[in-house]
Amino acid sequence: MRTLTYVAAIREAHAQLLERDARVFVIGQGLSSPWYAGGSLDHLDRDFGCGRLLDSPVSENAVTGMAIGAALAGMRPIVFHPRMDFLLLAMDPIVNQAANWSYLFAGGAGVPVVIRAVINRGGEQGAQHSQALHALFMHIPGLKVVMPSTPADAKGLLIAALEDPNPVLYIDDRWLYGHTGPVSESMTATPIGKAAVRRAGHDVTLIGISSMAAEALEAAQDLAEEGIDAEVIDLRSLKPWDRETVLQSVRKTGAAVIADPGWRTAGAAAEIAATISEEAFHSLRAPTVRITLPDAPAPASRVEERAYYPGSGAIACGARRAVEISGRQTRHTQGAQYLQGATA
């Protein structure tokens, strides 16, 4: 299969969706700008015309509401927010309207809208231009939330989001835009609600969300060198999330590390940790570790930014701790015992 970057995969998904279905259009702030979409929408306006790429005024509330209304009138809109921070201006249409609509009217009307929001952090942008607010939306009944970590899923989940008859929040991360991977040329949806086991392992389960899934995979490689065999799950969907895959893995490994690019308190990782402790209570041999942002807004200075965003190192560290407490016989501990025996 050919290789694409994450950003090219997003762009291709848009192009193919626009091509396939006349009901699809994109609306939002910055569609045609050289900055806002980071290449993910490049030239779509040229290829499909401004009539289907509406680069809108700065009116997050009304623009999001319009996308919802258009969806209710038979279109398949993608409403674009170049930063997730700006969703805070569109909470009424997203949470009060789109999320409730199906339930309110007893299924009489779904809202097939895709709300695309970008985690656009780092670069000393500071607290109002760095937020990863996915946990807020994970809490809301009636929404679906997806967070692809690979180019294939960046494409596949956008397709799935668009095909879903419900409001789906699609969250991509600028830090992943340069990542490469195989991407099908055809329009293959990644099923919403299904996690992906990126690496099988026996000693500990690493559950990664969005960019942290990629970091978890890296951590697993480092851990493997130390003889710790980690299973890596890329959650991909946050709502609904794939409890079965996660629980099955944790029941096997007995220990879990959750890596989440959001804040700690009442975040996505809390839900997963709580569920694990409820549903895999008797298999769990060590406390679940949450690797998250600290409970602080994003700083601007690079020094503080470096300390603020955890990566594969922190995940590996958490995994070592979990494995140690779990008392599992890993190749790592077996080796250590063997050496102890040899020197005894």
Binding site: P57, M66, A67, A73, G74, S102, Y103, F105, A106, P165
Partner: protein, 334 residues
């Protein structure tokens, strides 16, 4: 924009009167249900404001879409919504237009173009614009109408929507029912000037002030606005000045709520849109409406009886429809 001097046939006046009287009778019935405690959900009655719903909807086609708010019983009926489904919804029955899930403040009937009324103030205004955008993109001759109150103008998203509607020349009509109050607050406690018809001027949305208790004036203004929208010329704003006879919510008259409501109400009662229409009918020779009234009253009573027979939801189905499970087969025009 008014085309003065046009004479409408008696049937036109009779049909408008019928709708207003139907809304009035239905609302009085709801008031009783509220007073007796049989209806438990919050009900915001539009008694006194019937001409706005009836006049605007008379200018709409079935395919045009309507969006409303917390005070939308009249909009729902005028656009063709079923009386029984309305009562059933208010009484929390699964036969209600929203399956008993919404109550009075959440109304829908997609087959009649009622795409949704919900109680967050101003919430459906951008949604209506989105529907209008859909029609425009598909080059369909439909238009969308957003009904909202004078209070909604205080929400920023209405201004955002006006700009977007003008920019994209959307087939949209903004209908503001200015009943001078938002809940307990008189307009003068919320704004510096009494000029709601000017709200769109900055956004290039033409605005008109209409006597909202004059069914013909409302219809004329709506007809022109609908025509403008349908012709591709863009959105129009209508300020329909009116007054609600009952209190903000429920069946009480709120006589002691608000700055000077008691005196205002006395004056507005003289402007009853239903009586004004009846006077017109009388002038045109239709003097006796007793039989007509009886037919409508019976229809309302029958609808209530049918609604009361509707089943209450089953607890076990409480979690249904959090999500739409699949694309519903296209069961309606929208």
């Amino acid at each position: 924009m008014a085309r003065q001097g046009m004479t409408r046939p008696l049937t036109w006046w009779r049909d408008r009167w019928r709708m207003m009287f139907l809304i009035r009778t239905a609302e009085e019935t709801v008031a009783q249900l509220v007073s007796s405690g049989e209806a438990r959900c919050p009900c915001h009655l539009c008694i006194g404001q019937e001409a706005v719903a009836a006049g605007v909807c008379a200018a709409l086609g079935r395919d045009d879409s309507l969006w409303g708010g917390h005070r939308s019983h009249g909009h729902y009926l005028a656009k063709g919504g079923s009386l029984e489904a309305l009562f059933a919804e208010i009484l929390g029955r699964t036969s209600g237009c929203s399956g008993g899930r919404g109550g009075s403040m959440h109304l829908i009937d997609r087959e009649h173009g009622i795409l949704g009324a919900v109680p967050v103030v101003a919430a459906t205004v951008p949604l209506a614009a989105g529907a209008a955008l859909a029609y425009k993109m598909r080059a369909e001759p439909r238009i969308a109408v957003a009904f909202f109150g004078d209070g909604a103008i205080e929400e920023g998203q209405v201004h955002e929507t006006m700009n977007l509607a003008a920019l994209y020349r959307l087939p949209l009509v903004f209908v503001c029912e200015n009943n001078l109050y938002a809940s307990h607050l008189h307009w003068s406690e919320r704004r510096a000037a009494d000029n709601l018809d000017q709200v769109g001027a900055f956004h290039s949305v033409p605005g008109f002030r209409v006597d909202g208790n004059d069914i013909e004036a409302v219809f004329q203004a709506a007809e022109a606005a609908v025509e403008r929208a349908r012709s591709g010329a863009g959105p129009t704003f209508l300020e329909c000045r009116t007054f609600r006879w009952r209190g903000h919510v429920g069946s009480s008259f709120d006589l002691d709520v608000g700055l000077k409501r008691r005196g205002e109400l006395a004056e507005w009662l003289l402007q009853d849109p239903v009586s004004r229409c009846e006077e017109k009918l009388a002038r045109m020779g239709m003097l006796n409406l007793a039989e007509e009234k009886e037919i409508i009253r019976e229809a309302v009573a029958a609808a209530l009886t049918a609604a009361r027979a509707g089943p209450e939801p089953e607890e076990a189905r409480m979690l249904d429809h959090v999500w739409v499970d699949r694309e519903e087969p296209a069961r309606c025009v929208h």
